[in-house]
């Protein structure tokens, strides 16, 4: 096994081009588990820790460019205002020690359906992009096209994730996750939800209840229709239990979970409907308050 230690981003891309099967490592919270348990023996490990840029973020206009290796702990501390959904999701990752090392880039690279970032990224809108780079150039992959299968993503073998582009929140966002306890749990299932008042859209993200993280597109369309028809974006009036209920059912219908050690498919579907109703209610209450205080 080789241990590659590029000092710059260009060196990293050159190394990945030369060793396409090299496994990138940053926080190590996934990679080292596989190594310690001998699950995976890559031909080479590509350490990204020395590339300081990867652990930085910036805001340009209304988009956050989040470096792939910014640890969850810093997302919570520094980005909970522009990225509330992702910050909430970050807070549910592992433990403080894990959050000090783990990053969204790692979650995307591993592409586990149970990754906590994914529902928040999916819910954050249609302008979320994964910035992937290789010696051939840089491309922005829409988040909707990123997840291709269980632990599979649309990266090419010579590509590395450099950053994620996420719109600054323009409305309330929520994240909810079911686990056996409050810390150190892999999600049994998770749900991310966001209101996007500017574009009059809503965003959803389902975690751990399908082969890939996915949206509940019909639920989004239903809710957008109701909000538009009844002028609720303008009034901030109550949604009513029928709407909330229907939204939950549509989220439930969008999932295709399996029975496994963490939970049954039935339980996951049930829990998703509950989380969908709750996160919708929480965010809508926040939004109504904003409308009322602005009036």
């Amino acid at each position: 096994m080789e241990f590659l230690r590029p000092a710059t981003w260009d060196e990293a891309l050159a190394a990945k081009a030369e060793y396409p099967t090299a496994l990138p490592i940053s926080g190590g919270t996934d990679v080292m588990v596989e190594m310690n348990f001998d699950v995976h023996r890559p031909s080479a490990i590509l350490d990204l820790n020395r590339i300081g840029d990867l652990a930085t973020w910036s805001i340009d206009g209304d988009v956050v460019r989040l470096g792939a290796a910014v640890p969850y702990s810093r997302i919570i501390d520094e980005l909970s205002e522009p990225l509330p959904g992702l910050a909430l999701a970050a807070h549910t990752v592992g433990s403080p020690q894990i959050r000090n090392r783990g990053s969204v880039g790692g979650n995307l690279g591993a592409a586990s359906p149970a990754g906590d970032s994914h529902p928040a990224l999916l819910a954050a809108g249609r302008d979320v992009f994964v910035e992937a780079a290789s010696v051939r150039g840089t491309r922005l992959i829409p988040i909707d096209d990123f997840y291709t299968g269980v632990k599979r993503n649309s990266l090419e073998a010579d590509e590395l994730i450099r950053a994620v582009h996420i719109p600054v929140a323009d409305g309330p966002q929520q994240f909810s996750k079911i686990g056996t306890r409050n810390a150190m749990v892999i999600a049994v299932c998770a749900f991310g939800f966001a209101l996007h008042p500017k574009s009059r859209t809503v965003g959803t993200g389902i975690g751990s209840a399908a082969p890939t993280p996915r949206r509940a597109v019909e639920a989004e369309e239903y809710l957008q229709g109701v909000l538009a028809e009844r002028g609720l974006w303008e009034s901030g009036d109550l949604l009513g239990s029928e709407v909330v209920q229907r939204f939950g059912e549509l989220v439930r219908a969008a999932a295709s979970p399996i029975d496994d050690v963490r939970g049954t498919a039935d339980y996951r579907k049930h829990a998703l409907a509950v989380m969908a109703r709750r996160t919708l209610t929480w965010t809508w209450n926040d939004y109504s308050k904003q409308i009322r205080s602005a009036a």
Partner: protein, 161 residues
């Protein structure tokens, strides 16, 4: 491969390190610092917690090659300069927060980090900070006592200085 880094303020060097080896293994088996404990090897138990460049991390999840030229501080580095127990260590002894002791090194480092950031944490903050450190003996009550005691002593020390 060879890995050189700073451990508890001293330069250390490890040879013949396997590329997939963890920092924890290097500390325990190659540079004579067995204080950090190996239990789960997957970041769930926190027994191997060390500071890496001042940030508490699970050393079992850091690849040895990643610590090249960096600074590591282990439970051994929490003692006073004269070798006496450090404030957090003494508080754990005094509160009876140590039973089998296997989780203690990780709890000490994590508590040290918590108090450095917030000398007067609430009980909720303590539980949150220690949520990645498992103890199967104490039921955590004595550990809570120890952190409260360490907090009180940290604050008293700050006032007297």
């Amino acid at each position: 491969m060879r890995v050189t880094f700073t451990a508890n303020g001293k330069p250390v060097e490890a040879d013949d390190v396997w590329e997939g080896e963890s920092l924890l293994y290097v500390l325990r088996e190659r540079v004579g610092l067995p204080g950090s404990k190996n239990a789960c090897e997957q970041g769930e138990c926190g027994s191997c917690t060390v500071y890496l460049d001042g940030v508490p991390v699970c050393s079992c999840l850091v690849a040895a090659g990643q610590v090249q030229d960096r600074e590591v501080r282990t439970v051994e580095g929490l003692t006073e300069e004269d070798g006496e127990l450090g404030l957090v260590q003494q508080a754990f002894v005094d509160a009876g927060a140590v039973q089998c002791g296997f989780c203690t090194p990780g709890l000490l480092v994590q508590t040290d980090a918590l108090l450095a950031q917030d000398p007067q944490p609430s009980d909720t903050d303590i539980r949150e900070a220690l949520s990645g450190n498992l103890c199967r003996c104490t039921g955590y009550e004595k550990i809570m006592d120890a952190v409260r005691l360490a907090s009180a002593r940290t604050c008293a020390k700050a006032v007297s200085e």
